[in-house]
């Protein structure tokens, strides 16, 4: 017999409900009963062998029974630590409580008070490093699966179509303020910022360089991890708030920021993303069959090359593919290549422990049959007479002393070079800032890496009326951090356009020492 344990917040009474009999056992028991140890509810997945050959979503999400059971594990801490771990500060206990009580509509309404895209965050946030890491239940057992519950609530909303006019979550849109804000980039930061500003009553135009909105959610994250239908729905939601989308606009080329400012935009939020792929600068990188992860994923995700020739964009699939790198992007590229039918070797110079990718992604990749070639670093790529990749040479590494980042530095083992026969190489070693926008904008301070300098708390840049957030400021980071930046940007732009200080006195106190200067651009 499964027991659910619930605590009624109003009275503080403990209830134990038997799912079989639906009876309540005991009213305020004499002794606080020992919490029944409900194990963390697993999320159903497509079996590894099956999913390795299709592009459908790997994880299938909770049904309502699973969600209620999982939510019932929450201890409802008085001072919930999980909230501290959330970059946008979602009222997690409230959401979990509503799901436990069988009220997903309430849960989604609560979520949407804080985050604009729960269906996305529930899938791609690294919860194990954020909310779930701080979950008190995680000390002795496994933490509450907050991410999966978030996803459940969002998917429930989609399934029940409450995004319409009569929806519980129809957002309140403030009276029009008659001011026009331009947002550059329709990735997570730009979409969030545009949505928030529209809700505040601003006229917002969102500029996107590609032909589809969504940024990295569309070109970067594969279908099997984040279905594009979800991204499209989230974009439609933002459009429903009154945001005007302008596709095919490359800011810095089609229009410059200075032109936008002169042309009726009262303020601008720059969220144009991480940009140019890095290569390793080893011999053979320009051979045919060598891709940046960006290109491989863009071809497959944005251009749908995985459905070539139905879609016109081709992709070189390869029989044996080497993916270089250990981040989430490397994992996405490897799992995409696998689904296209290749044998995939992931080459990473440290060990699994240091790998920056999410544990869940590494786990899924292993299950699907990606071969991990760890403690190995590429030294050159060798081509055949037609200019195609034939082999990759790697050198074995060992871990030495920890470096500045605290990770043990890999050191090459002299003379351990070996060659792996491959016909496609995907390089996933990070990105540099894209110069198109920044170089064409006057008076915008950049870091030595080409990222935009923006105030940490207000996101104001060195240029009047211009704010910036997301990867173009931080370098490649996570979706949720970008969304957080979008929110902050919207708040700052609102205050700026209302003639208020960018930070309230309290916030100033909280985040800064007395000597710090306000970051209002001047």
């Amino acid at each position: 017999m499964r027991l659910r344990r619930m605590r009624l917040r109003a009275t503080g009474r403990w209830l134990q409900v038997s799912e079989v009999t639906q009876t309540v056992h005991g009213d305020r028991p004499a002794r606080k009963p020992k919490a029944p140890k409900i194990p963390r509810t697993d999320m159903p997945c497509q079996p590894a062998a099956q999913r390795a050959a299709n592009f459908e979503e790997v994880t299938l999400g909770y049904d309502s029974d699973m969600a209620m059971l999982e939510a019932s594990r929450c201890l409802l801490c008085k001072k919930p630590k999980c909230v501290l771990g959330c970059p946008v500060g979602i009222d997690i206990p409230a959401v979990v409580r509503m799901i436990a009580a069988g009220d997903p509509a309430g849960a989604i309404a609560k979520l949407k008070e804080t985050t604009s895209f729960p269906a996305v965050c529930g899938r791609v946030c690294p919860q194990e490093e954020q909310c779930e890491q701080l979950c008190v239940l995680g000390v002795k057992q496994e933490p509450v699966a907050i991410g999966r519950l978030e996803r459940y609530a969002a998917d429930w909303e989609f399934a029940h179509g409450t995004t319409g006019e009569d929806a519980a979550t129809t957002p309140q849109i403030a009276p029009r303020k008659g001011k026009h804000v331009g947002v550059v980039g329709s990735g997570p930061a730009g979409l969030t910022c545009a949505g928030e500003l529209a809700k505040m009553g601003y006229d917002v135009t969102l500029y996107e360089a590609l032909h589809k909105p969504g940024g990295v959610l569309v070109y970067g994250i594969p279908e099997f991890r984040l279905p594009k239908a979800i991204v499209a729905r989230e974009c439609e939601y933002v459009e429903s708030l009154g945001v005007k989308f302008k596709m095919d606009h490359v800011i810095g080329r089609t229009l410059t920021v200075d032109q936008m400012l002169a042309d009726g935009h009262d303020a601008i939020f720059l969220a144009n993303g991480a940009g140019l792929p890095s290569f390793m600068n080893i011999p053979g990188e320009n051979l045919n069959g060598v891709y940046s992860a960006n290109e491989f994923l863009t071809r497959s995700n944005l251009m749908k090359a995985y459905r070539f020739p139905e879609y016109d964009t081709p992709i070189a699939v390869g029989k044996r593919v080497a993916v270089i790198g250990g981040g989430n992007v490397a994992m996405d590229a490897a799992r995409t290549a696998l689904r296209l039918g290749a044998e995939v070797h992931l080459i990473y110079r440290r060990t699994l422990d240091e790998m920056p990718a999410r544990t869940e992604e590494i786990h899924h990749a292993e299950e699907e049959g990606i071969v991990f070639d760890l403690l190995a670093n590429p030294t050159q790529i060798i081509g055949d007479e037609d200019g195609w990749v034939k082999e990759i040479e790697v050198i074995d590494m060992e871990l030495g002393e920890p470096d500045a980042s605290g990770r043990r530095r890999p050191v090459p083992l002299e003379g351990s070079e070996r060659r792996i026969p491959v016909d496609v190489v995907i390089v996933s070693v990070g990105t540099n800032a894209n110069p198109l926008l920044t170089k064409s904008t006057s008076g915008l301070d950049l870091t030595k890496w080409g990222n935009i300098v923006a105030d940490e708390h207000t996101l104001a840049t060195s240029k009047e009326r211009v704010f910036a957030g997301g990867d173009i400021v931080t370098g490649a980071a996570t979706v949720i951090l970008a969304m957080g930046a979008g929110k902050t940007g919207a708040r700052s732009i609102d205050r700026y356009l209302q003639g208020e200080p960018l930070l309230t006195a309290e916030e100033e106190e909280a985040v800064k020492g007395p000597s710090h200067q306000t970051a209002v651009a001047s």
Binding site: A229, M247, D248, R253, Y306, P314, I315, G387
Partner: protein, 324 residues
């Protein structure tokens, strides 16, 4: 024929009529065929026309399942808000584009991309164009002429039927030399011959060479011997055209450069043309498979007959890749 394949869509259609996206379609205002394979289209794209300069390129998409096709801007009219492109039909996408004419629309038209040509008064400039290279060289020659240079144009093609824009180019050049491989018009020689003679005679300050990779390679080789600075405009394979994919990378002076962001024009004496041409051949097999499917379809099969499922497409993709 509008769309040769219509598929069930997995995603909600972003560009549906009625949600305000329709106005973002780009209309083809006119089309002229120059030969069996080469055609010109004038496309309404006011934002691109307002910003573009000589030497830049655009990316277009015919429909949502299409490729992003990079094409150099052949001409532009800021007042009318139009861009002119000249295209040689080679693969599926360009063949498909060839079937479109006045009144048809493109789903995407993005630009201007790449760096504009650096137009200065330097003295005497040769503009050498091979094949459809005439189109991109035209706005450059015009700008050079307007900047006060003496402009000598050389236009080269395999035969007379492939020549176009001779009058247009003559208008903006002080001297125009026409060559064909078979002598059907102008001199019977390769483009490099008059180029060499002019360099030999001296007084040339700058050369622009635009055309197929091999033509640019040999133009650059020719001028290198005389130490005449030579710009070439590279046409590598790319996806987004904004620096994001890195597929267009070329080796220039031993350094890796992105054509879309750093180019498309580079110092021809520094470019590794062999890498460029090799990378251009990267998808030959897939391109052929795709074109065969397109042509067999276009030759009158029932549309539903080629409605492959996603699984079939993936299997086909694999088959193609395996043969690469």
């Amino acid at each position: 024929m509008k769309k040769w394949h219509r598929r069930a869509r997995l995603e909600p259609k972003w560009f549906d009529e009625g949600n305000g996206k329709k106005e973002d379609m780009y209309q083809i205002l006119s089309k002229v065929d120059y030969s069996d394979d080469v055609f010109m289209q004038v496309i309404e794209a006011p934002a691109v026309a307002a910003a573009c300069q000589a030497g830049q390129f655009i990316i277009l998409m015919i429909h949502e399942e299409g490729e992003r096709i990079p094409l150099t801007i052949a001409d532009f009219d800021r007042e009318a808000g139009t861009i002119t492109i000249v295209v040689q039909a080679v693969g599926t996408s360009t063949r498909h584009l060839q079937t479109l004419g006045k009144g048809d629309s493109l789903t995407s038209f993005i630009g201007p991309l790449g760096q504009p040509s650096e137009i200065e008064k330097v003295g005497t400039v040769i503009c050498a164009a091979g094949g459809v290279g005439v189109a991109p060289i035209y706005p450059i020659a015009r700008a050079l002429k307007e900047a006060g240079n003496k402009v000598i144009c050389i236009m080269a093609a395999r035969n007379e039927s492939l020549l176009f824009w001779e009058d247009k180019l003559r208008e903006v050049s002080d001297e125009l030399i026409v060559t064909t491989d078979d002598g059907s018009r102008g001199r019977k020689c390769l483009v490099t011959e008059p180029l060499k003679e002019l360099c030999e005679a001296g007084g040339i300050d700058l050369v622009y060479a635009i055309g197929p990779g091999v033509m640019m390679k040999f133009c650059a080789k020719t001028t290198e011997a005389y130490g005449v600075k030579t710009f070439v405009s590279l046409n590598s394979i790319m996806v987004d055209g904004t620096g994001m994919c890195g597929g267009c990378r070329v080796s220039v002076g031993g350094e890796t450069k992105f054509v879309c962001v750093d180019g498309p024009e580079f110092d021809g004496h520094q470019v590794d043309f062999d890498v460029l041409m090799s990378r251009q051949r990267q998808y030959l097999k897939q391109e052929k498979a795709s074109l065969d499917a397109y042509l067999s379809h276009a030759s009158g099969q029932d549309e539903s007959a080629t409605d492959a499922t996603a699984t079939d497409a993936t299997a086909c993709n694999r088959a193609v890749a395996a043969s690469v």
